[in-house]
Symmetry: C2
Subunit: 324 residues, 2 copies
């Protein structure tokens, strides 16, 4: 199979590229504008004959369409994932998520490709009224521009399935952790603790409950869905049966680093405007396919910290982006 991966130099995209490239009968095209992706994630892939790496933007329609030629299946992982600062630059979610997804769909149509897997988010449930939240929970009210743009992407993909005979695999992720994770709270906490091991500033009251999934568990779940489902539109929550408080992950990180900083809370149950104080997904649908996660949230947090410890270059690379 010929796979096309948008955001293929990113956290999940490059991990997926690694997984697919192991099968030498696969051909993989990594497409990335390297705005948040890293060349470093592609070091192994670069040398492989069945991998092509293309530097391109999803807003460059003709480059995208040309690059996609001869592909059979599209993994669309590229996105503005800067959830927290969406209100500072509302156009970013529209362009990099909504319009970019439209361009991916149109490029597929032009190239006669009809299978797409899409990374959506558990945030599309807004402040869920049903927890754990199943895929068919009550029609939610959106609270962030990021989730809104992901929902717009889901909706367009579903409509292309209905209207143009596509098959769609839509994954509503909890936060994913693990090797190559380069943003979000574990990353931020580690960074702050390296700067000042005695004090840690925490957004919200630390009691925000979140669910996390380890990246390799996430990839196995994606494969389980693609291999075992046959609907036109296949929508699956991806998470674990566990959740933790922000305070828990702080504790695990500090234990691992052997630190006991003073915790200073900004207060309130929301980390920031549009932050969901509790994302916990009902994952029985994906588990009914035989998949289950192998890694606990605690282990996923520690694996992430270990990776960051061993790859400090990421902090230098990410420096320019602080509060972008």
């Amino acid at each position: 199979m010929n796979y096309f991966i948008t955001g293929g130099a990113g956290f999940i995209g490059s991990s997926m590229a690694d997984a697919l490239a192991k099968d030498l009968t696969n051909k993989i095209t990594v497409y990335d504008n390297f705005s948040t992706g890293f060349e470093e994630f592609l070091l192994k892939l670069k040398s492989l004959e069945n991998v092509e790496i293309i530097r391109g933007d999803l807003l460059d329609e003709s480059k995208l369409s040309d690059a996609m030629a001869r592909s059979d299946f599209v993994f669309h992982f590229a996105a503005n994932a800067d959830v927290r600062f969406g209100l500072k630059h509302p156009r970013k979610d529209l362009e990099q998520n909504t319009i970019a997804t439209f361009n991916v769909l149109e490029a597929m149509r032009k190239n006669g490709i009809d299978k797409i897997a899409f990374s959506s988010t558990g945030s599309v449930y807004g402040e869920a009224t049903k927890i754990p939240t199943p895929e068919d929970s009550p029609f939610p009210i959106q609270t962030s521009l990021y989730a809104s743009s992901k929902l717009a992407g889901e909706a367009m993909i579903s409509s292309y399935c209905e209207g143009y005979g596509f098959t769609g695999y839509i994954f509503r992720f909890v936060s994913i952790l693990g090797e190559r994770y380069t943003h979000g709270h574990v990353f931020d906490f580690y960074k702050k603790l390296m700067q000042d091991p005695n004090e840690l500033y925490v957004l919200g009251n630390g009691k925000q409950r979140k669910s996390y999934l380890y990246v390799q568990d996430c990839l196995r779940a994606i494969f389980a869905v693609i291999q075992n489902t046959k609907e036109k539109v296949n929508i699956y929550n991806l998470g674990t049966d566990e959740y933790c408080e922000v305070n828990d992950s702080i504790k695990w990180i500090c234990e691992y680093l052997n630190l006991s900083p003073k915790l200073i809370y900004s207060g309130g149950e929301h980390g920031w405007i549009g932050d969901n104080p509790f994302i916990f997904l009902d994952c029985s649908k994906v588990k009914s396919l035989g998949w289950h996660s192998n890694t606990s949230i605690k282990d996923a947090v520690i694996k992430t910290v270990k990776y960051i410890e061993q790859n400090k270059w990421i902090y230098t690379a990410r420096k320019g982006e602080a509060n972008a």
Copy 2:
């Protein structure tokens, strides 16, 4: 109050402008690119001192923003409403609905305006699993690009409410009928019957069940919601407790016109790809505000036919658009 109406030369927009202009303390700005709106709908308004008419496109951000200055409240009715042919030009829904709505929200933010009413659609429920369909029915899968773009609009508006302190009024309409209705099935059937009174070609099997609302009932419902609700995001279905089959409206139209054409069905339960065979909304939420519809579907259909009969210029004006 100063009201800004996008799509103010259209069916519902111009009717809303008429209603608002009666109160001479209101100032109304009609903004329309006249791509599907009509100068003819504004004949009365043109002569009023409290009405300003601006020819402009929602994709022209600076014109839009300038035009909106000094408004207090935005009615965002402008849209590509060519639901049926969405698959022929998928970019149209993205640009004229999703991006246009984003531009409206940004223009509001620039001008310090924080109240918006938005015409969404009952089609956002896709093939609803719960009928009649309440606002919090199970998270739907989208089936048309039109509904997808309306859902994207809803989501962005809700996020602006959460993030920027806007107040949003989102209306999920059934099809609206009445004076100035210039597209859709009543319009098409009348046109076909004028061309050939002996034969009528019907998309689908005629058993598609639809609910309709008379435009003046619709306006009263919008006012009831705006005057009586206080949430950040107010989402309301607007419809009636009735539905009819396409065959019923054909019968009413033919009775009124005194015709008995032979009916030829294209077959299938869908009129076209993405057509919802049954849209019937649970409107108890809006009715709990004291509103109820005064006009039956049958009367709304007849009022529409009467209007078209008396305004044949619409067919000439619409000629260039056939199957656009």
